[in-house]
């Protein structure tokens, strides 16, 4: 169970400078009072256009940096104060998913298992198990150098799932995947959500609408750093008064916040 409560984060970046003049500092509010509640056994979608603050929110969830305000808890463990305990309960597939090119897929997965505190034997066994689940038996003992985008994604996902976490967080996992790989990933996520798969709590960020429609029971729409609407796909259609989910998303993410700002 993941709970993100009123989380905000601002970054200070350099603006345009002149040749002999230092660039003035600019503050960018990347995330502004975002709320998200993701219970176990449900796939929660985090839907928003590029630059909406999805990745920043998930990186705070991954304890890479602290929010300016608000709280994040994973299974009631506060990420800010007990990051290592919280991370042990999560499998994160973040925006950056680089592998070690000189290690095989199996070694990449086992290394993360060991870092999660598993002994070598159970990490090996789990790598084998995940290779069946993710259909990566043929690539398991190949060095990851030269892997295709889909093979990389599978390895990175297996690496994130190696310790069988109760909470799974995926940041735009279908980026660069072909139809078949996307479909296979969808099946895996459905299985992991089901009671046979362990009733995992899954948070899934994307900007692709059909994925959300097909996969998520609950959707949080993010725009300009805020969570602007949430509910099931049907509820969001109802809220926006549209019949197509794409129209509903455009209405909720772009038009409603703009109207709110002018009102």
């Amino acid at each position: 169970m993941i709970h993100i409560d009123n989380v905000s984060k601002a970054f200070v970046t350099a603006g345009p400078g002149k040749l002999f003049r230092q660039a003035p500092k600019q503050t960018i509010q990347a995330v502004n009072n975002v709320r998200l509640h993701a219970p176990n056994g449900r796939i929660t979608g985090l839907l928003g256009p590029n630059g909406a603050g999805k990745t920043t929110t998930l990186r705070m969830l991954g304890a890479l940096f602290q929010p300016d305000s608000g709280n994040i808890t994973v299974d009631d463990i506060a990420v800010a104060t007990q990051p290592r305990q919280a991370l042990a309960r999560m499998g994160m597939l973040g925006d950056a998913r680089g592998l070690y090119p000189r290690l095989t897929a199996r070694e990449n997965i086992v290394y993360y298992g060991r870092l999660q505190g598993m002994d070598a034997g159970s990490a090996e066994a789990r790598a084998q198990e995940l290779s069946l689940l993710l259909d990566m038996r043929t690539i398991l003992d190949r060095r990851t150098d030269g892997f295709s985008q889909g093979e990389r994604m599978k390895t990175a996902l297996a690496r994130a799932l190696v310790h069988d976490p109760a909470n799974i967080v995926l940041d735009e996992p279908t980026n660069g995947l072909d139809v078949l790989a996307t479909r296979a990933l969808r099946e895996v996520l459905r299985y992991l959500r089901s009671p046979e798969g362990g009733s995992k709590c899954i948070v899934f960020s994307t900007h692709i609408m059909p994925e959300v429609e097909q996969l998520c029971e609950h959707v949080v729409v993010m725009a300009q750093g805020r969570s602007v609407a949430q509910g099931s796909v049907e509820e969001l259609l109802e809220q926006s008064g549209k019949t197509q989910f794409e129209d509903a998303f455009v209405q909720l993410a772009f038009e409603a916040p703009a109207q709110g700002a002018t009102a």
Partner: protein, 392 residues
């Protein structure tokens, strides 16, 4: 499930060592020069020394116009020298370095002037830019001084004066240097190469495990594991330091078989390099490999790409490899602070080992202390900067 610091440190260290050793191409590029270095340096040095020895054995002297000086010829032949007529274009040849011996030039009226007591002039012609010819000037000069002295003694004896009057003081040389100390004059460049082996061994691994990890996008997922950041950094660092030491060991060991190829007899007799020299050499490199491994990581973690990290680490590498030059350019003996400067301290202590001196704890302590402090400081900095690196 255990997540203790020591356990995590080991997991990371083992992975990093395997990862670095799998990078065969880079490793080969580092290992080949490290192994070839010893034999190549010694071969070069021994060839140089052998040519000096050859010259001494040959006892040849080049003279232009020896026909004008029968007395001088007589003297030189009595000293068992073979006199060779200098080529006519000896000046051009000396300049072009095709002639590697100085030339004694005797004037047309030499014999006549000598008989009349007019002090004829004899020139020793060499070119100071032609080093090998320059090196022969000293012995030629001594030979001609001997001739002068003999003439003077004979002249005095004719007048009934003892030749001893010319030497009111008897001068004898006594060389305090041991055989090894004498050899260390020649072998003093060896420590510099060992230091370079440490640095280049540590360089690739340190950049790959920091800036490389960042560039690949594997640092962020790595930090999302429940591992103490200091354990991550320390594990990476131990692999870096191990690689540096491995290269130093290879470079040191390469000098042992290299001794078999030494041509010069005196260098072979003087240069004693065995396991008892390699062992202290490696122990001395430990603080350097540790401190600079951590230092390189600290420089590289601030860089966003491998290329940027290479540029920034170049300065550090150059600074450390240049420190032994301080010892060479400052011939006034070792200053106390030599032992406190990374690189220079290793160089100074390795030179002492080559001279056959034994090292005490007090001599090793400064570099140990500096190495430890540098390691701790840099590792703490890297652990702190790692999180910042991914949050930007």
């Amino acid at each position: 499930m255990s997540t203790g610091f020591w356990r995590n440190f080991q997991v990371v260290a083992v992975k990093e060592v395997i990862d670095a050793l799998r990078d065969r191409r880079t490793l080969l590029r580092l290992m080949v020069p490290a192994i070839m270095m010893g034999p190549l340096i010694l071969l070069g040095l021994s060839a140089l020394l052998a040519s000096f020895e050859d010259r001494a054995e040959k006892r040849e002297i080049l003279v232009a116009g020896i026909a004008n000086a029968p007395t001088l010829r007589n003297f030189l032949e009595r000293q068992t020298y073979t006199i060779k007529e200098a080529p006519t274009d000896y000046e051009a040849m000396l300049r072009e370095r095709t002639l590697t011996d100085p030339v004694v030039v005797v004037g047309d009226r030499f014999e006549q002037e000598l008989q009349e007591g007019e002090r004829p002039t004899v020139e020793i012609v060499s070119d100071s830019a032609n080093q090998r010819a320059g090196a022969g000037v000293g012995s030629t000069q001594r030979l001609l001084t001997g001739f002068n002295q003999e003439r003077a003694v004979l002249n005095l004896a004719l007048r009934g004066v003892s030749g001893d009057l010319l030497q009111s003081v008897s001068v004898e040389e006594r060389d305090l240097a041991s055989v090894q100390a004498r050899a260390s004059r020649i072998t003093s460049i060896i420590p510099m190469f060992i230091i370079m082996a440490v640095l280049y061994g540590a360089l690739t691994a340190s950049l790959d495990s920091t800036a490389g990890e960042r560039e690949r996008g594997s640092l962020e997922p790595l930090l999302m594991n429940p591992v103490q950041h200091l354990a991550l950094v320390a594990g990476k660092w131990s692999a870096v330091a191990t690689l540096g030491l491995m290269m130093a060991l290879l470079a040191s060991l390469s000098f042992i078989p290299a001794q078999w190829f030494i041509k010069s007899d005196s260098l072979q007799a003087m240069f004693q390099f065995g396991v008892w020299e390699v062992l202290p050499f490696i122990v001395l490199q430990v603080p350097l490999a540790a401190g600079l491994g951590a230092g390189l990581m600290a420089v590289a973690i601030r860089s966003k790409s491998f290329k940027e990290a290479q540029a920034s680490s170049g300065l550090l590498i150059a600074a450390v490899t240049m420190t032994p030059m301080i010892g060479i350019m400052n011939p006034g003996g070792d200053a106390w602070w030599y032992l406190w400067l990374p690189g220079l301290s290793q160089n100074t202590l390795m030179l002492r080992v080559l001279k056959g001196e034994s090292l005490g704890f007090l001599q090793i302590m400064p570099s140990l202390l500096v190495g430890t402090l540098l390691t701790l400081g840099c590792l703490y900095y890297v652990a702190h900067s790692m999180r910042q690196a991914v949050s930007r």
